[in-house]
Symmetry: C2
Subunit: 240 residues, 2 copies
DNA sequence: GACATTTAAATGTCAGACAATTAGAAATGT
DNA sequence: ACATTTCTAATTGTCTGACATTTAAATGTC
């Protein structure tokens, strides 16, 4: 306790006030000088605390007269961005096997199948079909293929029309992209994947959850197969 | 672009270096003074940037000679803590209906059923049964009941033996707790919930995924029913 | 060789200054 | 009366220099 830095303590104090609702969205915090007085610290210490909160999208700051720090409404987009960053780093900095990550990813994705079949709109289907078309272009780079893959799965998740679910799943799916980028896709594997994608979207359109699940399972098995040969020598501690 | 603060730019620059692997785990960053020179800014600006990174658990700082800022390995625990905070705030600061949140939560939880049945250990079952026993104590407070509920579901998720899945799901489940805490549990509803919990654990022990799913569905329906009457007047913007 | 002391490097904190930004008030012009 | 410009005050952003604190390593002492 004695070792804790003041700026961390102050950040925690303010964060608690926000989490517990004592500070509501768009409320203005006291100015930096006032906070410095209240907490009996220097202004720079307060500023470090505020930067910590800003890094978590808990506050935003505005300059000028009547500016200051305001409690920020955490948007789905911000929350998802943070989730993606965290998940990506977690995967890249720990010895996570390709199998474990893949298993988790597809298990999670299956979570949206029932709702997707129930609530999918024409626009969702169009989005997904558009990505499948893009994936069939022969001049698409590997990165482009992976990016399109992510967008397709993202569209599947969104078709459940549940923003909370989208936030959770899209984060998980996007975090897998760097791992997928390690795989080079031959013409053959591309067409195989696209075939499963088509199966999947057809089943969503037909509102047949078990068929969607089956397509996803095919994809999972095939992805694992593609990843198997791949050297899983991860790069997180390259030398020494 | 012209409006971006220097400390944010510097933080982004270092964050990119970490994400792209140019800085590996436990690498030491240059000292604050050296960074200040390199980026041609004052030391306080560098410090604000470092605090932003520290808030995301991307670095840790050590004091004293040969101290400094080190790239930190993001642990599952840290990642999950961040996920819980983010998810909780997302739910508390946006107009998310109880139904939407509940739907997402149970859809996600179903994602671990197959793996849980396949890989559950005796210890997992023991953990879950222990929580059920605790929930049957009549002198347990509502908060205690909810906390035990979270631990039970957490144990279910962990029994899949997939840390990536645990991280994702545990975050989602824990984030729902504040919403659940709004419900007061009568003796009758407690015993009803405990009954479903027992069904669920029995099915996991018997390795019968469909039965687990059915128990979870019962729980979801019953939870929704309990939440329905509840005033869903959310507190995020109490008075204007 | 074991223990105590000193030293140097680094972060943590503070105070004071100034620049940049911005909304609103005041002044000015028509 | 209204529009435009200028001024003003509040606030964040940045820099500088100072000092306190912490810590590992170097040095000294027995």
């Amino acid at each position: 306790m004695s070792n804790t830095e003041l700026s961390a303590t102050i950040a925690k104090s303010i964060r608690d006030a926000i989490v517990e609702g004592r500070l509501a969205v768009d409320d203005r915090l006291p100015s930096e000088s006032e906070l410095a007085e209240q907490f009996e610290v220097g202004r720079s210490t307060v500023r470090e605390a505020l930067k910590r909160l800003a890094a978590q999208s808990l506050i935003r700051t505005e300059r000028g007269a009547f500016g200051g720090a305001f409690v920020q409404r955490l948007s789905y987009a911000d929350a998802q961005a943070q989730h993606v960053t965290t998940s990506t780093l977690l995967l890249s900095m720990n010895e996570v096997s390709f199998v474990t990550a893949c298993q988790a990813r597809f298990a999670l994705e299956r979570a949206c199948v029932d709702l997707a079949c129930a609530h999918r709109q024409a626009a969702d289907l169009a989005d997904m079909r558009a990505e499948i078309t893009r994936q069939s272009q022969p001049d698409l780079s590997d990165e482009g293929f992976c990016a399109s893959d992510v967008r397709l799965h993202r569209a599947l998740v969104d078709s459940a029309q549940n923003p909370v679910l989208s936030y959770q799943l899209a984060g998980a799916v996007e975090a897998m992209q760097p791992l997928m980028n390690m795989i080079t896709f031959s013409d053959r594997s591309r067409s195989e994947i696209t075939r499963y994608h088509t199966m999947m979207v057809d089943a969503v359109e037909a509102r047949q959850p078990p068929k969607v699940v089956r397509a996803l399972e095919c994809l999972e098995i095939y992805t694992l197969e593609l990843g198997r040969g791949k050297i899983l020598a991860r790069k997180q501690t390259p030398a020494r």
